[in-house]
């Protein structure tokens, strides 16, 4: 290929003339060309993603009327005030928090545990990796229905807990109570998420220095202190990343709740997003729904910023 050859000769020439810097410099004197490349995609992004972000703020300040031609009334911060005094909003927040508390620590501990067990070049490692990752790639809709079936009154979970191990004295109606419902929903969250954190930790464990591990072994350090001092230090950025992503994911829980309990019975398992959805699309209270979405978005946004900051100043963290 002549192009390749010519490129190669050019690079050698350049290397001789000046110590070339990587990364390659972008070309200047571009004129309109880059804007033409950007235009179609960026226009679509602005219209369908960026504009709705702004629109959500605007809608949250109105008693929004969805009917065509009808006018919406500006009500200032009333929607936010209303949320503040709305017991169901607080319950949604509680349930979302509960979901995080129940799902985040197990996903981290189990994900890291499996990653450590798989970190040696053990035979069959690839197979295990695939098996643990399988729930991650399966659609939320399907696994939500599957768990509804597993947690059914005469389903598999009750059979294991009641008929086989006698942990419970009777069949539990998992999805018809608030706490048991949240446990079932969280069980799904953990089962579906472990493979994801495992994969991130597996990648991070590649960066653990073999020399340090060896030095620790020679110094006679025990396994636990080696893990704490060497491994945990090396994977700290990944750990931070996983925690932030899982917390954001916890805020994001929606499909599983909608399909497993529908937020019921009588709104007891409503999480923030299902409550937002219900206000907007069942009660047609779009302004109120938008205000809940805005508050959530700000929360997630702040978390993302914290994450970026933490990544930048990762070395400085004690």
């Amino acid at each position: 290929m002549s192009v390749m050859e010519r490129a190669r000769t050019r690079t050698t020439e350049e290397k001789n003339s000046a110590g070339r810097e990587r990364p390659p410099r972008p070309r200047s004197r571009a004129g309109a060309t880059p804007y033409l490349f950007l235009a179609p995609g960026f226009a679509l992004f602005l219209l369908l993603i960026a504009y709705p972000m702004v629109k959500a703020f605007q809608m949250s300040l109105y008693d929004w009327n969805i009917v065509a031609g009808a006018t919406s009334r500006y009500i200032g911060l009333d929607n936010y005030r209303r949320a503040f005094h709305d017991p169901l909003f607080w319950r949604g927040l509680q349930n979302s928090g509960l979901y995080m508390a129940l799902t985040v620590p197990p996903q981290i501990v189990l994900g890291l545990g499996v990653a450590i067990l798989l970190n040696n070049k053990a035979p069959g490692r690839a197979v295990y990796r695939v098996l643990f990752y399988l729930p991650v790639v399966t659609s939320w809709v399907v696994v939500s229905l599957l768990f509804q079936y597993l947690f059914a009154d005469s389903g598999l979970v009750n059979w294991v807990l009641h008929d086989v191990t006698h942990v419970t004295g009777h069949d539990t109606s998992w999805l018809s109570g608030r706490w048991t419902g949240m446990v079932a929903i969280s069980a799904l969250g953990i089962w579906k998420g472990v493979g994801w954190s495992m994969m991130i930790f597996l990648a991070a464990l590649q960066s653990v220095s073999k020399d340090l591990l060896e030095a620790a072994a020679l110094d006679g350090a025990g396994r636990w202190s080696t893990f704490r001092v060497v491994t945990l230090q090396a994977i700290r950025p990944a750990l931070l990343f996983v925690i932030v992503m899982l917390v954001i994911g916890g805020f994001n829980v929606f499909v599983s709740v909608l399909l497993m309990t529908g937020g019921g019975p009588s709104d007891s398992t409503q999480v923030l997003l299902t409550y937002m959805y219900k206000q907007a699309f069942t009660n047609l209270d779009f302004g109120y729904g938008a205000s809940i979405a805005v508050m959530l978005t700000v929360g997630v946004f702040v978390l993302s910023i914290i994450q970026l900051r933490a990544f930048r100043s990762d070395e400085e963290l004690a």
Binding site: P52, P123, Y133, W191
Partner: protein, 290 residues
């Protein structure tokens, strides 16, 4: 005896997998993997059961009598062949548009210096920070104005838009790593920007394009909330909403529900098994949003 178990520094590699510790490791891993896989096995089994055996005590892991009746009923009389087709059309179109538009943007960001480059890129990254579901209320109002409610086109347009940020981000990173000298050489040969993008940069980026293709396709294939909110007529349903609504109407006909679910999940699992490598790559470059 006291060798640390974390990547064993003393004897790296295959230190007898059947030594005491190695054996325990496999037992633990196998138990874990069983918990991961058994629900799928049970679902598959149930999809071959007749209604009588769907919720029996003790549960049946091997359907007896087994029947393929659920599949034939779901596929033909319940219209899932049609929903499958809808899902496929929407996912293929969304993936094609998203990759075309985001690779064009990524090329501009990676290869040109122009006023506003940093600012525009930052704005685009906002799309990575805000989960799609948070925008569903204003997007619904917008879609109503644009006449994109209850149409497959509406699904494609929104799926394309919502995957642009991530794809542009991933592609830009890869494009920047392509030696700029190759392009300069083409320029000397008189090639314009379009031909450099189409004939050089894209062919060299096959791995990252594959990763983006898989993620975008699966995201569109599995998308539920937006489709549920905007699609009202039955003949325009995609698989996820068809399955969910189907379960709503037939809450106890688990055999039928899972036959439909298997039909929806099978392509995904196959794609995953074939393209595992790309999954892992996409993931470790921070590609997956929680």
């Amino acid at each position: 005896m006291s060798a640390p178990a974390l990547p064993s520094p003393v004897a790296p590699g295959r230190r007898g997998a059947l030594s005491g510790r190695g054996f325990v490791r496999y037992v633990v891993l196998t138990l874990g993997a069983a918990v991961m896989v058994l629900p799928f096995v049970y679902m598959l089994a149930t999809s071959f059961k007749t209604q009588t055996y769907v919720l029996t005590i003790p549960p049946q892991f091997v359907p007896h009598p087994a029947t393929v009746d659920n599949y034939s009923r779901v596929w033909s009389s319940q219209g899932f062949a049609h929903y499958f087709w809808n899902s496929l059309v929407v996912a293929v179109a969304s993936t094609a548009f998203s990759l075309l538009l985001s690779s064009m943007m990524a090329y501009a960001f990676a290869r040109f210096r122009f006023p506003g480059r940093e600012a525009l890129f930052r704005v685009l990254l906002l799309g990575l920070m805000v989960p799609a579901i948070m925008l569903i209320v204003p997007q619904f109002v917008l879609a109503k104005h644009l006449g994109l409610i209850n149409s497959l086109t509406g699904l494609v347009v929104f799926y394309t838009a919502s995957t642009l940020s991530l794809n542009t981000f991933l592609l830009r990173g890869f494009f920047q790593a392509i030696p700029v000298e190759l392009e300069e050489a083409m320029e000397v040969d008189g090639a314009g920007a379009v031909s450099r993008y189409w004939r050089l940069v894209l062919p060299l980026s096959r791995p990252v394009l594959a990763t983006c293709t898989i993620f975008t396709f699966l995201a569109s294939w599995d998308e539920f909330s937006w489709a549920l909110t905007t699609i009202t007529s039955p003949e325009k349903r995609t698989l996820p909403i068809a399955i969910a609504l189907f379960q709503g109407q037939n809450s106890t006909l688990w055999g039928l529900v899972f036959a439909a679910s298997i039909i929806a999940v099978l392509p995904v699992v196959l794609v995953f098994l074939v393209f595992q490598r790309h999954f892992v790559q996409g993931l470790t470059s921070g590609a997956v949003k929680g």
